[in-house]
């Protein structure tokens, strides 16, 4: 830090990739000490977001949304030991748990019987090399900054796809747009956020 004089814009403090923001600390306190005060802080921050996530674009009742909040937060408590601040941002980690719980809940509500849980389909990320940690940290910062500058039609599609959990085809149907338009808006948005794949062949 000594050579930097300006205040860092983000909550990353050390060049080793260690994340030191409040939510990561809470998760570490939970996994190491079963710290309920830390869990309560985490709950107050994330529970309203999880509930909003549950209610966006779905016809879930408030009761079911509250259930999703409870389930997700219990999983957060239970799985806190798997959180590795060097691999993931706390908010990404909580988001993926909420996403998986929501998918499982949709399947349960639709009496969709499967031997696979959301967690099976989204395995924990492997440890990354320090170099790619640095890269993913940069890309995350870039995504946050650029998100503000997306044109509304592109931001709207991303919200539909992610927060409402709609496939591109479903989003096209609801917005009354051709599928090609939806796909190209998503692509343009991802391009601006610099999420792309290099040297790719599509099979």
């Amino acid at each position: 830090m000594s050579e930097h004089t300006e205040t860092p814009k983000n909550d990353w403090q050390t060049p080793t990739g260690r994340r030191t923001d409040e939510w990561s600390e809470c998760l570490t306190l939970i996994s190491q000490k079963e710290d309920r005060a830390a869990f309560t802080r985490l709950f107050r921050h994330f529970a309203p977001l999880i509930k909003a996530f549950a209610l966006s674009g779905s016809n879930l009742s408030a009761t079911v949304a509250d259930e999703l909040v409870q389930e997700t937060m219990l999983k957060v408590w239970q799985k806190s030991g798997a959180f590795n601040p060097e691999k993931a941002a706390a908010s990404t980690w909580v988001y993926t748990i909420a996403r998986n719980c929501r998918t499982d809940m949709f399947r349960r509500l639709n009496k969709f019987d499967t031997p696979l849980a959301g967690d099976d389909v989204y395995p924990d990320q492997e440890a990354e090399e320090p170099f790619s940690q640095l890269q993913s940290r940069r890309s995350r910062e870039h995504v946050r900054e650029m998100m503000q500058e997306l044109p509304p039609d592109q931001a709207q599609i991303l919200a539909k796809v992610y927060m409402e959990g709609k496939s591109h085809a479903e989003a096209a149907g609801e917005l009354d747009l051709p599928l090609g338009t939806v796909k190209s808006r998503v692509r343009l948005a991802l391009q601006k956020l610099q999420i792309h794949m290099e040297n790719y062949s599509y099979g």
Binding site: P115, K183, S201
Partner: protein, 218 residues
């Protein structure tokens, strides 16, 4: 190292949780072989988290908080010992779970002299999720489909008019693409195929089989 990958649309739907279960399972199995796509999926999850963070929060009362606090003792934090990463080239854990054994232990349905199929159950009512075993040098009769076809090579490899594919390679075919894959001469090929409509053989020699190829979804 895989050479053929899912496109960004598919990985986005996967990261957002909107891909149908059977397709998500196939894509997840590709990630097992492909660091590049794992990283892309990670970036797309970060994007999801950014959108999640900027949601307008809904009120959650203390009743909810207390209800969760009261249940914490029932689910103590799990301990995560350092698990050895599976060796590259091993059958993805998710498939091992669905197979409940080795390839050899599965029930294989013989379709032609070189092609056998084993159906696995994901519970997804819209998709057939099956393993194809093609004998070395054997051919899958030329076929097309009414729907989409996702393929992931698990062992050996095959080639068709568009290229040659090896372990970990991922292919996505749109409805009505016609192809006739041939397994490599050197070894048998096992691949995972996820279909939303049955295959349709196009060659005269195998067309008579079409009525028997109904979709085995679920």
């Amino acid at each position: 190292m895989a050479k053929y990958h899912p496109d960004l649309d598919l990985i986005t739907e996967y990261a957002a949780g909107s891909l149908p279960l059977a397709q998500a399972a196939c894509l997840s199995a590709h990630l097992n072989y492909c660091e590049q796509c794992r990283r892309t999926a990670g970036q797309l999850e970060d994007l999801g988290a950014t959108l999640f963070d900027s949601l307008q929060g809904e009120t959650v009362g203390d009743v909810q908080l207390n209800a969760v606090l009261a249940r914490l003792d029932d689910v103590p934090p799990l301990s995560y010992a350092k698990v050895e990463q599976p060796l590259a080239g091993q059958t993805p854990a998710l498939l091992q779970r669905l197979m409940k054994g080795e390839f050899a232990d599965l029930v294989w349905k013989k379709i032609t002299s070189t092609l056998s199929i084993s159906y696995l159950s994901t519970g997804d009512p819209g998709y057939e999720f099956a393993l194809y075993h093609i004998k070395a040098g054997g051919k899958i009769p030329e076929h097309t489909h009414k729907g989409s076809e996702m393929t992931l090579i698990l062992e050996g490899g095959f080639s068709d008019a568009d290229g040659t594919y090896h372990q970990g390679d991922f292919l996505y075919r749109e409805p009505s693409d016609v192809h006739a894959p041939t397994a490599l001469q050197s070894e048998d090929c096992i691949c995972l195929a996820v279909l939303d409509a049955p295959l349709k053989f196009t060659g005269w020699k195998h067309r008579w089989m079409n009525p028997f190829l109904s979709l085995n979804a679920g």
